[in-house]
Every structure is written in structure tokens, then in C-alpha cells.
Amino acid sequence: MRLVLTGNYAAAYAAKAAKVEVVSAYPITPQTQVVEKLSEFIERGEMNARYIRVESEHSAMAACIGAAMAGARVFTATSAHGLIYMSEMLWWAAGARLPIVMGVITRAMAPPWSIWSDHCDLLSLRDIGWIIYFCENAQEVFDTIIQAYKVAENEEVLLPAMVGWDAFQTSHTAEPVDVLSPDEVSKYLPPRRPLPYVIDFERPFTHGSLCYPDRYMEFRYLMDLSMSKAKKAIVEADEEYGDLFGRKYGGVLEKYLCEDAEIAVVTMGVLSGDARYAVDILRKEGYKVGLVRLRVVRPFPSSELKKELKSKKLVCVIDRNISIGRGGILGTEIKALLKNSSANVVNVVAGIGGRDVSYEDIVNIVKRSLDLVEKGEVPEYMWYSIDKEYVVKAVGEYYEPPAL
């Protein structure tokens, strides 16, 4: 069935198609249509599910944890402040190894209030044991949420999964989406098995009590181990989905015109569409450039990225996030991967707080990065499109970190 859907509605249709049994969520812009649509589905009896209309995101994730411990397949969605407010419970969900799937509509953190996209909210939670997907468009949101259940519930994985997409540009932009029915999806995604454990009155157990240093560390090791196994599960889940339904996304990375490329642009999320168009323009101008779009941040596709990027002349990582005092998060990780290779990594922080990054900006970023590489003047990282006059007015000077 083909419908014109926003990214948010696509997410709701995906949760319905995945036969989610419990939804627990708290409203936040720009997530609201996800949960509004799910409320409609549940109230109209189109989903055999409960909707817990909690009083906060902290409680949203707590209720997801409770429901998942009682055996239900659960879904929630949030954004920015909601995500950070629930972050304590996100640690709990991961440590409890519950296959919860959550939509994260990335939005900049306040102050000042902003409702527009950047990825600082989501990426600040990259180290806690959640699988992290990031989508480019509404169709991918739909497909990835279903794939995320397949991966999260894989007995070798059993970790929760976040599926990210950009505020407004993806969440509120309507596009044609091929929507699968719950029956179609059931061929791909069987009902959740009671793994790793479900509350059982016949066989009572205690979960999560005080654990001494003689055992705690193994639980973290096992999470790390399962996360590394998740990579294979992600690729297989994408392949199987593609075989059944005709769409796949390259597993952990999507590559565009990379084979002969000397220059690789690395992006994530909605900017990738503009980046693809920028690649086309640059190709026409004679630049041998390709695009690598990260579809998964955790598990980090280290070997795949390294293989793809190590022999490039320029790797231009556009980060829609900033680790204050360090640089772009993806750029920092990719630089660490490529430190013993000949590739020059230019890390550009752009699009923070929803600032537009057009295909022209990306063309500009690539050309300027190439200049810096040729001059041997590559800085640790750079900010793109900073109003230097404003900075000087504010603090009397402008020098570090450099702004392109």
C-alpha cells in the first residue's frame, strides 16, 4: 500500500506493522504525530495494544521497561529534552537487555529553545548500549523500525534500538511511502519470544539487584560482545528485508558513487540527500567524489568504514553535532579509524540547531576541504557557516576553533 506520509506517520505505521503491544510515550515537538497516530490506531482497535499516556519521558521508558519485562513488544518515540530526561532509564533498558525500539526525532538542545534538528541529543547517548540507526527519509524510517525489532530481538543481540531521523526535514515532510501490512511483516518478524527473560510466576527471579565488582564487569563485556554481533544481524536483517519486500539500505553503510572516488563525503540523516546531489554536481565538474552515508552509529561500522575510506585522498566528514571542546563526534571516530592510513580527514561541523545545509554548501565544503588538504593545513575540526562578525562582537576576537 502506497501512502503519502511524513517521517513521523511512517514511524507510527511501522510500529503498527510490527504488531507492537505496548506504546508508552510523552509528547514533545517534533515527535507528537508519531504518538498521535498510534493513539488513533489503538483507540480504533486497529492495533491490539495498550497506550500508556505517561507523565514524563522518564516514566515513558520506565513503563516500556516494565512492559518489556512482562513480555510485550514495546515502542516509544521522543526527541531532544525528552530523550535526555529519560536517559537514566535508557541505561536501564540496555543493561536489562530489553529489545525495546524507540524513534528519536533529533532536535537541538536548549538553551536557547530550538525545535530544529541537530544530532547532539542522540549522539550524546552513543555509549550506553543501544543500537543506533539513523534514517534519511520517511520510507527508510518505516523500513528501519521493522528491521530494528528483528535485530533487537535477535537472541545473539538482545539490545534496545534507537532509530533516528531529523526534526521537520524528515519528521514533517510528506513523501510517498510503501507501507507494509502487519500480515506482510509477520513473514519477516515473528512474535517476540520471551528473551532474555520474562516475568514468570512459576519460576520467580529477581532482576537487577546489587552486583559486586566480581561480576558486574562481565555483564558490560557481554553487552559489548552482543553489540559487536549486532552488526552481522543488522546486515542480515537488511538483506532479508530486501529479499522479501524489495528495499534494502546497504546494512550499516549506504555508498553512492564510491568505487572510483578519491574524495568521500561522509554524512548521516537528511543532509545525505543534499550531499548526494552535491556529489552529482562535483562529478560533473570532474571531481572524483562519492558519498558514504552512515546508517548505523552503534555498533560503529569500523571495518566497513576503514575499508571504504582508507585509500581516499580526502574524507570529508560532515557532522551535524558538536562534542564541545573536541569536534564532530563522527569525525573524531573516523579520524581514529584512519590514523594509520593515507587518508586526510577534514571534519566539518554544520547544520547545528537546524541551520540549513544546502547542496551548494556541501559543494563548497568539499572544495574548501580539498584546498586545505593540498595546502597541508587541515585543522582538527572546523565549524561551517559561523557568523564571524557576531563572534567578534560577542567576545572581541575570533581564532579557535576555525570556522570555514
Partner: protein
């Protein structure tokens, strides 16, 4: 197919059993002694024992489980006929 994964070992699952903190009777400074002559089998001591360290015999006499009794003294304090005395270990 049986999985090779032990799901209760990849997660912090504990199963119930006595002595979760070991033989807590070793904490005791004063030991409760029940005088069966005086005991009227009201079982208030059993009822009020915070440790579940008093069992009830076939004849409904309370019996201290010394392996676990921490010697808090509630049983002696609450016994309406003063049938329980606290004796230094």
C-alpha cells in the same frame, strides 16, 4: 533448536534461596532462648520476626533458626509472657 546462550547469565538474574547474605546468625550478640514451659504458642514472635528466622513446629511451638537469627530481640520484647530471654553469645 536449543540456544547455546544462557539467557539468565547474560543478564543479572538471581534466584531465591535462604542465606542471601550467608549465615547471618553470626551477626548475633544476644541469642534468644525460648522457654517452652512458659510459651503459650501465641506465635507473636513468629509474626513479628523481621528475618523470618522463627519457624513453627508441628506442635505450633516457635523455634528460632539460629543459623539466620540476628538477635534483634523483637521476639523477646514482644513476647506477652516473657518466655524468651536474650542471652549474650
Amino acid at each position: 533448536m536449543e540456544s547455546k546462550i544462557k539467557f539468565d547469565l547474560i543478564t543479572p538474574i538471581s534466584y531465591p534461596g535462604e542465606g542471601s547474605a550467608g549465615a547471618t546468625g553470626s551477626w548475633r550478640v544476644f541469642k534468644p532462648i525460648i522457654d517452652r514451659e512458659k510459651c503459650r504458642k501465641c506465635l507473636l514472635c513468629w509474626l513479628y520476626c523481621p528475618e523470618a528466622a522463627i519457624r513453627v513446629s508441628e506442635e505450633n511451638y516457635p523455634e528460632i533458626i539460629y543459623e539466620y537469627c540476628k538477635g534483634c530481640g523483637i521476639c523477646a520484647n514482644e513476647c506477652p509472657v516473657k518466655a524468651i530471654s536474650m542471652v549474650e553469645e
